[in-house]
Assembly symmetry: C2
Homo-oligomer: 185 residues x 2
């Protein structure tokens, strides 16, 4: 398993990891419980403050932990973790400690109590800032208050879910910087 | 330029195209004007009704057209259109007709007045269903009311924006269906 030497990463730049649309692992902790869920439905909503919208279904055990603690960590796995990502989505934290079951290493966060997952490429510590659409859509808006990512590789081999058991693995990079007007990057 | 022979596609299955997180082109029409914008911040929110959350900044000309008409089309381009996708993001529809400038072909929608872009791989006709977070976050929730996609290729070579002029091109497929519990696909 690759381990990453992470450093602080600017929270206003986390689009680099989230905007391409990878499946992520959301970790949470509340009242002595901890959990991980697999999440595919999320989006960047603002650079500064660094906002991310997420769909956490009320059927998930994590819904309670995130709602109660008003915090979570968005962890970005790479293709090496693909089997675990599926496994984590297949079982419920109400019955099993997923950190133990999937042999994942916790790291304490700087700003939230939810644990970071060491084996993931990047970790985004998040606080809930707007839950008004939680009841109707299970939609949470978080602010990324601290981000951890390695200097290298710059572009991780993330996995992107298509449904029906099929993933897309992040492919080649395409540099179109020359086509952008200054200020539009 | 590849042209696609499209057919009706089930709206509850559009995660196949949107969940991996591609950059999309949003087309709109209102009071004799039409426009296209490049959009990277979006997410699936529900299967049925088929809901998609989108960030359309009030600084964009499309914000007015979408807000006024309460409709749009989400068009999914592939890597062949990458230069146009950047060009569309570089200029404002208040000054130029982007369909003409970028030589894109309009197709009439079945359920909305906004035009579909023929050169895109798939087209999702959308109606605004919830705009309550529009004022604070420029956040729109649309329902996909009609979808058009070709039978082949099943997995398009979409492009995924990382910021700073860098895109990721959709890579290889990874079939992990065997690992899923029934009902979790």
């Amino acid at each position: 398993m690759t381990t990453y030497k992470k450093r602080d990463f600017p929270v206003s730049d986390i689009r680099r990891f989230l905007e391409p649309g990878p499946v992520v692992l959301v970790s949470s902790a509340w009242k002595g419980e901890r959990n991980i869920m697999t999440m595919g439905w999320h989006m960047v909503m603002e650079f500064s403050p660094s906002l991310v919208g997420c769909l956490i279904s009320s059927g998930n055990h994590s819904y309670e932990l995130v709602s109660g603690s008003k915090e979570c960590v968005i962890n970005i796995p790479t293709v090496e973790l693909a089997d675990k990502v599926v496994g984590i989505g297949n079982c419920s934290g109400s019955q099993v400690d997923k950190f133990k079951k999937f042999k994942l290493t916790t790291v304490a966060g700087d700003k939230v109590k939810a644990p970071l997952i060491a084996e993931c490429y990047a970790n985004l510590e998040c606080r809930l800032v707007d839950g008004r659409l939680r009841g109707k859509y299970n939609f949470f808006i978080f602010e990324v208050v601290k981000a951890h990512a390695p200097a290298s590789p710059k572009y991780p081999k993330t996995i992107h879910y298509r449904g029906d058991g099929m993933f897309m693995v992040a492919g080649r990079s395409l540099n179109l910087r020359r086509l952008f007007r200054p200020g539009m990057l």
